[in-house]
Symmetry: C2
Subunit: 339 residues, 2 copies
Amino acid sequence: MSPNSGSAPGPLGASDEFTVIAGLRARFEAAAALRAPGGDAPPVGDIWIGDDAAVVTLPSSGRSVLATDLLVGGVHFDEAYSSLEDVGYKALMVTVSDIAAMGVRPAYALVSVAAPPGTDFDLLGAGLAGAAGECSCVIVGGDLAGAPVLVVSTAVLGVAESGAPPPLSRGGARPGDLLFVTGPLGRSAAGLRLLSDVASGAGDDSALARPPASDLVRAHRRPVARVAEGEAARRSGANAAIDLSDGLAGDLRHLAEASGVGVDLDVVPVADGATAEEAMTGGEDYELLIATGDPDELLAAFRGADLATPLVIGRCTDHPGHLAVGGDPLPTGTWLHRF
Amino acid sequence: MSPNSGSAPGPLGASDEFTVIAGLRARFEAAAALRAPGGDAPPVGDIWIGDDAAVVTLPSSGRSVLATDLLVGGVHFDEAYSSLEDVGYKALMVTVSDIAAMGVRPAYALVSVAAPPGTDFDLLGAGLAGAAGECSCVIVGGDLAGAPVLVVSTAVLGVAESGAPPPLSRGGARPGDLLFVTGPLGRSAAGLRLLSDVASGAGDDSALARPPASDLVRAHRRPVARVAEGEAARRSGANAAIDLSDGLAGDLRHLAEASGVGVDLDVVPVADGATAEEAMTGGEDYELLIATGDPDELLAAFRGADLATPLVIGRCTDHPGHLAVGGDPLPTGTWLHRF
């Protein structure tokens, strides 16, 4: 982790940046050891945390994919509903989800944190390390600075093996393609609703510990990127994919516009305990939406990788601009940041 | 630029995130066109801004380097002293400087911005694009969200050509190595002092327009990463390098500790208009500190690349923990973020 650039003295507190970084480094290296088949050290000549930049050796001649996302306290998460460990976990998973949507496995990650005094970096680091370990992604560097609000930005690099189908864009869908999602939708929005109900006294706290509420709350706090599903889709020859971060209605529109197709949906699979509206526009589900001209290959690839059967929801048409669900126009709702 | 993950409605304002992103995309693509010898589009099969992740083709079998840095409003910069264009420029340059310190050229960058309502993204984007164009680095993606304070995080990927000396770490210096810096020090700290003096009424505004004050102010607002210098040092067979972001005293200590050497400095080159203390501990100069066992090769490489002659400041010794300047102990001052 490179020392901070443009450092200025922050508010006095319990710990300085180099002490924090040393603690995070140990945690991230331990997570990498869990994943590295050969042990706990980088390959000879590679450097992880500790220099100006990380040095990594990528498999030759594959295409690389790069993505970044950021989470802002009070905007993307509420510390009353999510622990700092949840925030760290989610901050890495949402970027890994962008890599997964290209059908590629994440390899290396960088983490930038701006944090107020008193932030529990041990908890935040545990969440980041947990997500890294689950995704087989090594955190090789980062930066750390003081700020009045917590901002966690992650950047992830993945590499597609050479000689296989290229990364899946959102712009490759064709008329006639069937559309699949990797799971029922609305879980994250429903989980947030349940947490909010309990906080306002309208909900029953004890119910959150039992399914389906416990699954919904977990989906909100700890979304899991569909890495294996994305890879299976790409290898099966699917035409396009996008991750459902903004909600089905919004992300379906992104895929249709990028591909120049229309969309007819037959059904929207609603998660147990979620509402139809949460499934359509709730966002943050991080399931993948996949368009394929060869559904048998897609289903076989998912079976072969021991993954849950993807759910068919409709098809692409040759009427660009026409987006319908059960014959009605698709809702336009999607979340937007405004400035 | 991928749509924001975990989006929540931000405060209402003049513009939404997709409008802002479209404007930034056009600007970054224009900057890339300036740099790409073949024109304004990515190579066939590559994708820049506009999908879940960017897709890039890296030269095969070279080692890749990855770095990230972030700037926080009110911590790393003061909008009274720097325009948003300056902030954008510096936010990318400080990360490029980490890549330059490894002796590698930057190739691709990601930008994450958390911004308050009313932020002038056109100015911020102009600064980012300006730095990208000057460094021949393509901004291929990013993320954007609302926040109460401006935070700009950049991540940069560089690739070292295969068959050449590997990236320069900070840990490779050996006893007997000569130490060089790529320019006189203290310019950024002196520039900040002059701006602060004028703001408080103690300084003369009109003097800021003339050298050396104008150079110092520019060094504070728009530091330039020493990309060609780092590459020349690596190719010449230098043993170690680090960029001077925290100040000479602090970064020299980082290099000495990582390399297990002591340091005897003869002289600290002070920039015209800066003080000796600013040169020693001011930080943010982004000159490179280079250790080499073959100074003739280093000087020849700089001459061959038409670069200013690097300045020798001292040597590495076999007394780890012993850091001296002119026989006195090196000052311990360095900037630290505290939490």
